[in-house]
Symmetry: C2
Subunit: 153 residues, 2 copies
């Protein structure tokens, strides 16, 4: 008997390569679509999605270095530096070299940045209303996503 591997010819169906069999694809697509859901709400307060998650980190911890922000948001300085410069130009944050370590830049909220929190307060609930998952399902999804995230890191 000749060895005949499955899918050995280039034109054959290969189950593993069907889009509908990928876990990565709904992850990628759902991420983009959910970010799009935020857009009308974020437009109202003048933030992009990436700026919004940066603001959330800062609302929680008034001062963070670029490095700490990058660790929390899974973003590097190539993304954060121009992002934070724009936010500084908008008057939301201040960037200042640390006195203790001149290599690091400390990002802090301005009063205006702090105040924006009030206008953002209802966004999570508004988005939640667009996503038809029960609390249990949302928790399950949350846990599975964090497991994937930590494994992929």
């Amino acid at each position: 008997m000749t060895k005949k591997p499955i899918d050995s010819d280039a034109s054959g169906i290969c189950e593993g390569l069907l889009l509908k069999n990928q876990l990565c694809f709904p992850l990628y697509a759902a991420s983009k679509e959910v970010v799009r859901l935020y857009k009308p709400f974020l437009d109202e307060i003048g933030l992009t999605y990436t700026q919004y998650i940066a603001m959330m980190a800062l609302w929680e911890s008034r001062a963070l270095s670029v490095k700490e922000l990058g660790e929390r948001l899974y973003l590097d300085s190539g993304t954060l530096t121009p992002l934070l410069k724009k936010m500084e130009a908008q008057g939301l944050v201040l960037r200042k070299r640390s006195a203790a370590d001149e290599r690091s830049v400390i990002v802090t909220l301005t009063d205006q940045g702090e105040a924006l929190k009030q206008r953002a307060k209802n966004i999570p609930a508004n988005i939640g209303g667009c996503i038809p998952l029960s609390r249990d399902e949302a928790n399950t999804l949350y846990d599975l996503l964090y497991r994937v995230l930590k494994a992929a890191r």
Copy 2:
């Protein structure tokens, strides 16, 4: 009694705005990290992640219009047109105006594009090995992601 809404002051903690309470954030971060997992494998065959999912759609359906491709991948012409032009320059696909309807552009695989499937064949299994979820968990995640995706659309 005076009405006293929770989190009414700008500096107070607002549970809803904590990064760790967002479902969108692990979705966004996990998506990026998983795409990053693909990079070493995709580098070997000269594709980006977006090109890879476009190729998967084409491996499955030899010819697709830009519109159909966009519907399957959740991408618009502003993303696809330059992407497909690059893939055409690489010799992976052909773009041709439809004879039946001159408005639409039909994308087809070249022999080289078809042949690339062989070299991509093991990527899904390799990635699967990096994601520590049981089959049941992966299925659960898959279903929840598709529900979010379809609701957000």
